[in-house]
Amino acid sequence: MIEEALLLDSTALASLHAESNKPILEFILIKHEAHISILSLYEYLSALGYFSEVDFNKLYRSIEKIYNIVGVDQQVILKAAELDSTLTKVGVFLNSVDLIVAATAIVRSMVLVTAKPELYRDLPKFGLKLLSVEDLCEIIRQEIEEYVE
């Protein structure tokens, strides 16, 4: 059972919005607190727009209905800057969006869900709680079984 709120990154969004994950996604949204960073939303929308003609306004409104969209505030930027400078000193260079998304999860005490945990491999030692989509799906399947019983 996951107690903390979830923060889905753009890879988790892409993965969980596959038709085969529909029951899992619905259960997550009904039973858990699911958030997405505004930056993950930008990445995801950009992917959708790359592959087909989309109405970005309509998509944004639809996504906003089912997720809590989290903005970037001062605390998040300060945490991201701290992580970036510390990692750069030891030769680790992370994508700025990933750093800000990870900082959001740390600052707001959320579990960051991703389909690509390798993107954040250097961050759990800084307090990031990380969960792969694979592991999340397994947990949710168990929760669904318990719920049905």
């Binding site: 753009s10 892409a14 993965s15 919005h17 529909k22 996604l25 592959f51 260079f93």
Partner: protein
């Protein structure tokens, strides 16, 4: 506690639902109705944001590869 007024017909329907739900109070009935409404909204919302697995996989690869490209540039 707050009081709300409903007409006779609504009250009869709420009473039927209270029996169906096995609820102890109308507060519980209204709470359950709100929960069901949220579930319905979410289900409809999810429906319009689902993509075939193959397409979702393409979105995932696109996002991931772009991230790697940005990391390479930083290196």
């Amino acid at each position: 506690m707050k009081t709300i007024a409903v007409d006779e017909e609504t009250w009869k329907r709420l009473r039927k639902l209270r029996d169906k739900f096995g609820a102890k109070s109308y507060d519980e009935v209204i709470d359950k109705l709100i929960e069901l409404w949220h579930k319905q909204e979410l289900t409809e919302g999810v429906e319009e944001l689902l993509y075939p697995d193959e397409k979702s996989n393409r979105f995932l690869n696109y996002v991931f590869n772009k991230k790697l490209m940005k990391q390479d540039k930083q290196d």
